[in-house]
């Protein structure tokens, strides 16, 4: 089997444990000999799917206990006689264990400790491991004695939505007093507050058929599909395949149900194209057969082994999906139905049969369904005394009468449990008999069942509306999303035989839809069973809290109040009472809640409708959804060709987009960045410097129509650019605002090299491809990025030519005459290495850009430094680059910010009137031509020693600084070593005509307020003589 990792055999606990499995299902013998770990009273002497050969220790609230591999925390607690496990959300009522699965609303604990603490972990799904540490939550000072349980006393005031009606006075108290109190009381477990030490990963999985759930339906579906040769993935959130088969003591074929499941799992594991993923919950269903699934790779260990993730998020692409997720049992609503010891009947059977754990010694069984016979049978076989069977139906089937007889239990047909007695554990139950008398029966366990709701969650998000099925008094999936089918209990087929049959059929059909034909799988024989039950939503009784949503403490009264206050739509009911909004998403409570609302508003259940289940089906660790992408790997890092060299120089680096660039190169003795940067600038202006500019976007544009194409995307003209020359170009968006700028060179009649800003490289290429492929497909032109192919360095300063003479091969004449400003040529360098040379200047000095294939970039920078040594060359970083462009008044990202037009930036003259180009028309809208628009200017502090800051706003001198007189803002600033003071660039209302004026550069967020003089943006060498030298 090809697996991401060797999937733990689905037959967990084979060998010894498997031996148990083989016995599992047969009547377990009531515990004869006391066992180790003090669990004897509550652990059956034999049976169950636990590995008795090994005993593991764990602690709960600091106390030590022992259990076995194969236990969940919940089963181990039960086997140790622990009943009180948690406190409820609002009233802090003592709570125990209600279920044996992920739907558990009560038994939530803080699992693990320190940075690994996981709040709200369901004890019913947490696999037991040696050294497990768990603590109860939402209680103070202790679980047994919890001060906030006083809330119960004022419960009537804390009715649904009470907080909307008070805490309004005085207003200022909300943040200071009321809210902190509410926040502290609310919430359940505590986060560790520390960085998660474990790693996570994501992976992709493709298959023909995805099967969600490995119970009888899922196993049969997988078998039927798998045998056809189709690629099948079977996910089950449990660590062991079998679903209810593990929880019941049934016989399938001639094997025990658990054994049969193991047997099928083994055959599946042997099929080459079947992939079994246990401990994997399918959590979401998205468009086009995309599913997300969470694999708890190592949660069954104290810590993940080295090099292994804690969890893995699968993105599964499946042509077909068979939902075989089973059904969830519903509690009954009666007084104090949340007392520890009140448990779902299906869970009681699961603890007895699968875990050989005994949830009580004297039981009462309360339901209105035929399954009761099974519950009673399992209980008495386990040596639990069944005090009474309470069946709300006046007519009970023979099976139940027989069970009563066999177990010696009293049968109270037409009766109902009206209240559970006891606080930290049930001591007794009050029962209203058919005759209407109330009777108290002592017991320490109440097994109840309100029927089953299909686990149809994964059908809901994609818009399939469930339909009401009278037959089983539950919602079943309606018209299913494309590619999805259901089988077994998930489809409302509650019986085992139905599950097996529908599973086999669904698997075969799904494979067939993917083009794989096969033989039907023969369905094994099973004992006949009846899944009949009568709906019983609530029991009227004495005044006592009757809970619908245990986890959010939503009681019957809250539902009534919602109805009373007009919150009658299920969606309002949900949001007003928070019914179904807790961590269990109402898995056990939603249907009951809306049934009660239907009754209260005299509507039918289908009329009342349901809320929508959204992903995830079960809560998912956020770390798992992030996977590898956190910390430094949040996003990839892009390194320019000189990176290694720059590291050797001790450069300081800065993130520019994904790129990491050298920001400046500190030297010993330099006290701060400003000193280093100024020194770099002075070096360039007085001698020569070198800077890696490989990050600028470079786009190769070829073809007979290349020039025409550039004409249409740039505001200025290209058809008249001579080969071997470069030109500065400006691009607009179609809405008339500036998109990007850069110099573009013509290397041949039909070949141009477009350069873009580092920030916009990707955007510009996309834009060009759009223009070519969609707007002007008739043009014969091709383009692609060559940014990564070329290492490009700017060599700038009066001595740059001399340096390049030692780099560019001698046969190339780079004299001013032969290679003037804005020249471009293909040359060779360093002795025959292909190179491109451009005479461009961002710094305003005599300067060149030289490019070689990226692999030679490292060699080139070293060669340039070597050739420059006699001229005292120095490398410079992005800061110095920025200073010099500001001194020269070149616009950059801070000015080309998507809100400025060519005219705003003083580049209006570049807008050709003789041709069309992207953005031409919209740039002409009245508001964009308004004379008072902020336009590009230079600024000097009147006090030359003052520092300028970008982001400061311009307000008139003497006027009060208010929005009405806001005239623009400072876009860029730098300390100019050449001028010896700070200089700035900015956008000032009507700026072009205001040179010489003074305005305030107002910067309250940094308590700055400087008088500045408006001037021409070009501070340095306005005539531009230096760069032509």
């Amino acid at each position: 089997m090809s697996g991401i990792r060797d999937v733990p055999s689905p037959l967990v606990g084979e060998g010894q444990g498997g031996g148990e499995a083989r016995r599992g299902g047969r009547p377990p013998t009531p515990n004869p000999s006391p066992q180790g770990g003090g669990e004897s009273r509550w652990r059956l002497g034999s049976g169950g799917l636990i590995d008795r050969s090994r005993s593991v220790g764990f602690t709960f609230d600091g106390r030590g206990y022992r259990g076995h591999p194969g236990d969940t925390l919940a089963s181990a607690l039960i086997a140790n006689g622990v009943r009180l496990v948690g406190r409820s959300f609002k009233y802090h009522r003592p709570r125990g264990i209600l279920t044996a699965g992920p739907e558990e609303p009560n038994a939530l604990v803080e699992l693990r400790s320190g940075a690994r603490r996981e709040p709200n972990t369901r004890a019913t799904t947490a696999e037991l491991y040696d050294g497990l540490v768990a603590a109860s939550q939402n209680r103070w000072p202790s679980l047994r004695f919890d001060l906030l349980s006083l809330n119960s006393l004022v419960a009537p005031v804390l009715s649904a939505g009470f907080y909307y009606k008070t805490f309004m006075w005085p207003a200022s108290f909300w943040e200071k007093v009321y809210e902190p109190l509410i926040r502290r009381a609310a919430g359940l477990g505590r986060a560790s507050g520390e960085s998660d030490p474990d790693t996570y990963e994501k992976a992709f999985l493709h298959c023909d058929v995805l099967i969600v759930g490995g119970g009888p339906a899922g196993l049969m579906a997988a078998l039927a599909a798998g045998r056809t040769g189709a690629r099948v993935v079977l996910c089950d959130e449990d660590f062991r395949l079998g679903g209810r088969l593990l929880a019941e003591s049934l016989v399938v074929g001639e094997r025990s149900s658990a054994e049969w499941a193991a047997h099928i799992a083994a055959e599946l594991a042997a099929l080459p194209d079947v992939r079994i993923l246990p401990r994997t919950t399918v959590v979401g269903s998205y468009d086009d057969g995309t599913y997300s699934a969470l694999e708890r790779v190592n949660d069954h260990l104290a810590e993940p082994p080295e090099h292994e993730p804690r969890q893995r998020l699968w993105r599964i692409f499946a042509k077909r999906c068979v939902l075989a997720a089973g059904a969830i049992e519903r509690p009954l609503v009666f007084g104090d139905n949340d007392r520890p010891g009140v448990m779902l009947a299906g869970a009681v059977r699961a603890y007895l049969n699968r875990y050989a754990a005994v949830p009580g010694r004297n039981a009462v069984v309360f339901a209105a369904g035929d399954e009761t016979a099974r519950t009673v049978g399992d209980l008495s076989r386990a040596g639990v005394r069944v005090e009474a069977i309470v069946d709300a139906r006046t007519e009970v089937p023979a099976s139940i009468e027989a069970a009563a007889k066999a177990s010696g239990a009293r049968l109270l047909a037409g009766g109902a449990v009206v209240r559970a007695i006891g606080s930290h554990a049930v001591r007794a139950v009050d029962i209203r008999t058919a005759k209407g008398e109330t009777e108290r029966i002592a017991c320490d366990l109440l097994a109840m069942s309100g029927g089953w709701s299909p686990t149809l969650h994964l059908t809901s998000h994609r818009g399939s509306k469930p339909v009401w099925d009278e037959r089983i008094a539950a919602f079943v999936p309606g018209a299913l999303p494309k590619g999805m089918s259901t089988s077994g209990a998930a489809g409302g087929r509650l019986g085992l035989l139905e599950a097996l049959e529908t599973g086999a059929r669904a698997g075969l059909e799904a494979a067939g839809d993917c083009g794989y034909a096969g033989q039907p799988v023969e369905v094994p024989e099973v004992e006949p069973e009846s899944t009949v039950f009568a709906p019983l939503w609530r029991v009227r009784g004495p005044k006592a809290k009757a809970f619908v949503d245990f986890q959010n403490d939503v009681s019957e009264d809250d539902v009534a109040l919602a109805a009373h206050e007009g919150m009658r739509s299920v969606e309002h009911l949900k949001r007003y009472t928070t019914l179904g909004m807790a961590a269990d998403q109402g898995k056990t409570s939603n249907v009951t809640g809306l049934a009660l609302m239907a009754e209260l508003t005299a509507r039918s259940i289908p009329q009342t409708g349901t809320t929508t289940f959204r992903p995830p089906f079960a809560p998912v660790a956020i770390g798992a959804i992030a996977g590898h992408h956190r910390g430094k790997e949040f996003r990839p890092t892009r390194l320019p060709p000189s990176h290694r060299w720059a590291q050797e120089q001790g450069a300081v680096f800065v993130e520019t987009g994904y790129w990491l660039r050298a920001q400046w190169y500190p030297r010993p003795g330099e006290s701060d960045w400003l000193e280093s940067v100024s020194r770099e600038v002075r070096t360039v202006r007085s001698g020569v410097g070198v800077c890696d500019v490989s990050t600028l976007g470079k786009i190769d544009v070829q073809g007979p129509d290349a020039a025409e194409f550039l004409n249409r995307i740039y505001t200025n003209t290209w058809t008249n650019l001579a080969v071997g020359r470069a030109r500065y170009g400006l691009m607009l968006r179609e809405d008339g605002f500036v998109l990007d700028d850069g110099t573009t060179s013509r290397l041949a009649e039909h070949r141009f090299i477009v350069t873009t800003t580092t920030a916009n490289a990707a955007k510009v290429l996309q834009h060009m491809e759009y223009c070519h492929q969609w707007l002007w497909p008739e043009l014969d032109v091709a383009m692609c990025s060559i940014t990564e192919q070329w290492a490009q360095f700017s060599v700038a300063g009066p001595c740059s030519r001399d340096v390049l003479r030692g780099v560019v091969d001698p046969q190339h004449d780079i004299s001013n005459a032969a290679f003037p400003y804005m020249a471009a040529a293909e040359v060779s360098a360093m002795g025959g290495i292909q190179a491109r040379l451009f005479r461009l200047s961002f710094s305003g000095e005599l300067a060149y850009e030289i490019a070689v294939p990226a692999g030679y970039g490292d060699a080139l920078i070293r060669r340039i430094m070597e050739a420059g040594r006699e001229f005292a060359i120095a490398p410079y970083g992005t800061e110095a680059l920025g200073v010099m462009r500001i001194e020269k008044g070149h616009v950059a990202g801070n000015e080309i910010n998507g809100q400025t037009t060519a005219r705003d930036l003083g580049l209006g003259r570049m807008m050709s009137s003789r041709k069309d180009y992207v953005g031409r028309v919209m740039a002409d809208r009245p508001a964009l031509l308004a004379p008072d628009r902020p336009t590009f200017v230079g600024l000097k502090p009147v006090d030359r020693t003052a520092r300028l800051r970008a982001g400061a706003h311009f307000v008139p001198v003497g006027a009060e600084a208010v929005a009405a007189v806001d005239q623009g803002y400072m876009t860029s600033v730098a300390f100019s070593p050449a001028l010896g003071h700070w200089v700035g660039l900015g956008l000032l209302a009507g700026g072009a005509s205001r040179h010489g004026e003074r305005v305030r550069a107002y910067d309250p967020v940094r308590s700055g307020d400087e008088l500045v003089e408006v001037c021409d943006p070009v501070f340095y060498d306005p005539a531009g003589e230096r760069l032509r030298g």
């Binding site: 790693t199 590898h628 990839p636 190769d700 192919q789 070329w790 070597e866």
Partner: protein
């Protein structure tokens, strides 16, 4: 001045040590090797020139240009589909005169752009290579879905990548932009760690 030896350095040089990474015990699950000094060029058919281009490629290099995501190899050159009317010409080792020169017979029919230095190419193989790649490559690498000669342009761990299968071992070659090579390696290292990853020279 002193002659420094001019050699092309890889983006991984000095940043990644050859040898075993991740899980060290037992057999190695994934073996990676950088394909050095290969020649790569992007060949884009000019408007209306697709047919003549295909014909010239056949006559000059003995390769039938694929018009689906496939890699077709001649004796010393392979053409790897990388987009509509677009291919990567791949030669290892790179021709002395450079890729654009090597491909001049195609000039006029296609735009030719050297990318030899623009991409870092890793060859990966080993018993768990599919499992490791599945942790980032969204494409289906099942032997029935992706065969020798197939290629895909996609992205992995937020990095653009092109991958092609060169044999049934299976062995894949993965090309990523040079600047991202190190980040790509970090992802590969993390993804193969549990199986053990060997970087060979």
């Amino acid at each position: 001045m002193a002659e420094t030896l001019i050699r092309s350095v890889s983006a991984l040089d000095g940043a990644v040590a050859p040898g075993r990474h991740g899980h060290r015990a037992g057999d190695v699950g994934v073996i990676a090797t950088e394909v050095r000094n290969a020649g790569l060029a992007l060949v884009t058919a000019r408007k209306g020139q697709r047919a003549p281009l295909a014909e010239t490629v056949r006559s000059t290099f003995g390769v039938a240009l694929p018009d689906a995501p496939r890699r077709v190899a001649g004796h010393d050159i392979a053409f790897i589909w990388s987009g509509p009317d677009q291919w990567l010409a791949h030669m290892a080792p790179a021709p002395a005169a450079g890729m654009e020169a090597e491909l001049t017979p195609l000039a006029g029919m296609a735009a030719l752009v050297d990318q030899s230095h623009g991409r870092t190419v890793l060859r990966v193989t080993g018993p768990r290579v599919r499992d490791a790649l599945a942790k980032g490559f969204p494409i289906d690498l099942h032997p029935r879905a992706f065969r020798t000669g197939d290629t895909a342009v996609t992205s992995v761990a937020h990095i653009g990548a092109q991958l092609w299968q060169v044999d049934d071992a299976p062995t894949y070659e993965i090309a990523v932009a040079r600047g991202f090579a190190l980040s790509f390696w970090h992802w590969l290292e993390a993804s193969a760690a549990e199986y053990g990853l060997e970087l060979t020279r």
